[in-house]
C-alpha cells in the first residue's frame, strides 16, 4: 500500500466521522433517564381497595382472566389481579361501577419473583341473617342499598332464603300450602 492510498483511506474514515457527527447520537440512555411514555399509553391497572365492592364486573370483562374472583376456604371472597397475564386493554376500567380501577403508565414490571406480580384484595363476605351462610360481599350489599333503598329488608338474606321467603309469602296469600 502506497502512502497516497493510506492517506485516502484515512480521509475516508474522517468522512465517516463527519457523517456520524452530523446525525448525532440516537441511542437512548433509558435506564438512567426518563422513558418516553405518551399520554395514551396503557400500563398496569391500580385497584383502589377503598372503593372496590367485589362485584366481579371486571372479572367478566377481562379477556385473559388476569382478574379473578376466588372463594377462599373460610368464605372470604378475594379479587386477584395477576399482572403477568394482563394484556393492558383497560376494559375493566370501563366496566367498574364504582370507578375503583385506575389505569397507570407503569410498565417497569420486570421481577425475579412471580409473587410480586399478584395484587389481592380480600373482601369480607355477607352473612345470611336466617341460615348463617356466607354469600357475596358486605360492600356489594351496601352498594345495592344505596342504588335502590327498597331492597334493604332482604339484602342480608342469601339467595336460597330469599326464594323460600317468597314462596312462603305466596302460601300465606293462598291460605295454606301450595303445590
Amino acid at each position: 500500500m502506497s502512502l497516497k492510498d493510506m492517506r485516502r483511506s484515512r480521509l475516508g474514515f474522517l468522512r465517516a466521522l463527519v457523517i456520524a457527527g452530523r446525525s448525532g447520537r440516537v441511542t437512548r440512555r433509558y435506564p438512567y433517564e426518563e422513558p418516553l411514555v405518551t399520554s395514551d399509553f396503557r400500563g398496569k391497572i391500580d385497584i383502589d381497595e377503598t372503593k372496590c365492592i367485589g362485584c366481579g364486573a371486571c372479572v367478566n370483562a377481562c379477556p385473559p382472566n388476569a382478574l379473578e374472583l376466588i372463594n377462599t376456604r373460610d368464605g372470604y371472597i378475594s379479587l386477584r389481579y395477576f399482572v403477568g397475564r394482563c394484556i393492558f386493554c383497560w376494559r375493566c376500567i370501563d366496566v367498574c361501577p364504582t370507578g375503583a380501577i385506575k389505569g397507570t403508565r407503569e410498565f417497569e414490571l420486570a421481577t425475579d419473583d412471580i409473587s410480586d406480580l399478584y395484587d389481592i384484595i380480600v373482601h369480607e363476605p355477607n352473612r345470611c341473617r336466617e341460615c348463617g351462610k356466607l354469600f357475596s360481599t358486605k360492600r356489594m350489599g351496601d352498594y345495592v342499598v344505596t342504588k335502590s333503598p327498597l331492597v334493604e329488608n332482604y339484602v342480608d338474606l342469601d339467595p336460597d332464603c330469599r326464594r323460600n321467603r317468597f314462596l312462603k309469602a305466596i302460601e300465606n296469600r293462598f291460605g295454606g300450602r301450595v303445590g
Binding site: L109, D116, L117
Partner: protein, 159 residues
C-alpha cells in the same frame, strides 16, 4: 432466591419462540437496534443454547415446542437463567387454559423440576407486547443496575 453472581457480567441470550405471535420477538429486535441499544450492557443474541447464559422464552409454550424448549434448556451450561418475556410466557395470556399450550413458564418450571433439570433463576417481564424500554429495564434489573419497582399487594377490606 439470591442473585447469581455471573449475572453482573455480559449475558448471552438464546432466544426461543415457543408459540409467540411475533409481537414480543419484534420488540426483541427493537431492543437490539441503535435506538435502545441493549448491546451496551453486553447482551447478545447467540445462535446455540450451548453458548448462552439465559434462555429468552416468548409465547405460551405450546405442546409442540415443549420438547424443544426442554432440550434447549438442558443443553445450556450451568449457571443458567430463564427470562419469560411477555404476558404469554409469564402466565399464558388468553391461552392460559387452552388445550394445546402448557400455559407459560410457571408451568414449565414444574415440568423442569419433575425431570430434574435445574435453573438458577427466572425473570418475568410482563407486557403485551413488551415495551422495548421494559426489556431494557429488565436487562438493568438482571445486571443489578436498577432497583425492583413492583411489589405484591395484599389488602383485606371490611365494610
Amino acid at each position: 432466591m439470591g442473585k447469581p453472581k455471573f449475572l453482573g457480567k455480559s449475558i448471552w441470550v438464546f432466544h426461543l419462540n415457543t408459540g409467540s405471535c411475533n409481537g414480543c420477538d419484534i420488540e426483541v429486535l427493537d431492543v437490539l437496534t441503535p435506538y435502545h441499544d441493549a448491546e451496551r450492557f453486553g447482551v447478545k443474541l447467540v445462535v446455540s443454547p450451548r453458548h448462552a447464559d439465559a434462555a429468552l422464552l416468548t409465547g405460551p409454550i405450546t405442546l409442540e415446542s415443549l420438547p424443544k424448549v426442554l432440550r434447549a434448556i438442558e443443553a445450556m451450561p450451568r449457571p443458567r437463567i430463564i427470562i419469560a418475556l411477555g404476558s404469554c410466557a409469564c402466565g399464558g395470556n388468553i391461552w392460559h387454559s387452552s388445550y394445546s399450550v402448557i400455559g407459560g413458564v410457571p408451568e414449565l418450571l414444574k415440568i423442569l423440576k419433575e425431570r430434574g433439570i435445574e435453573v438458577d433463576g427466572v425473570y418475568y417481564v410482563p407486557g403485551c407486547p413488551v415495551r422495548p424500554e421494559s426489556i431494557v429495564y429488565a436487562v438493568g434489573l438482571i445486571k443489578g443496575l436498577v432497583p425492583k419497582k413492583i411489589k405484591p399487594k395484599v389488602k383485606k377490606v371490611g365494610r
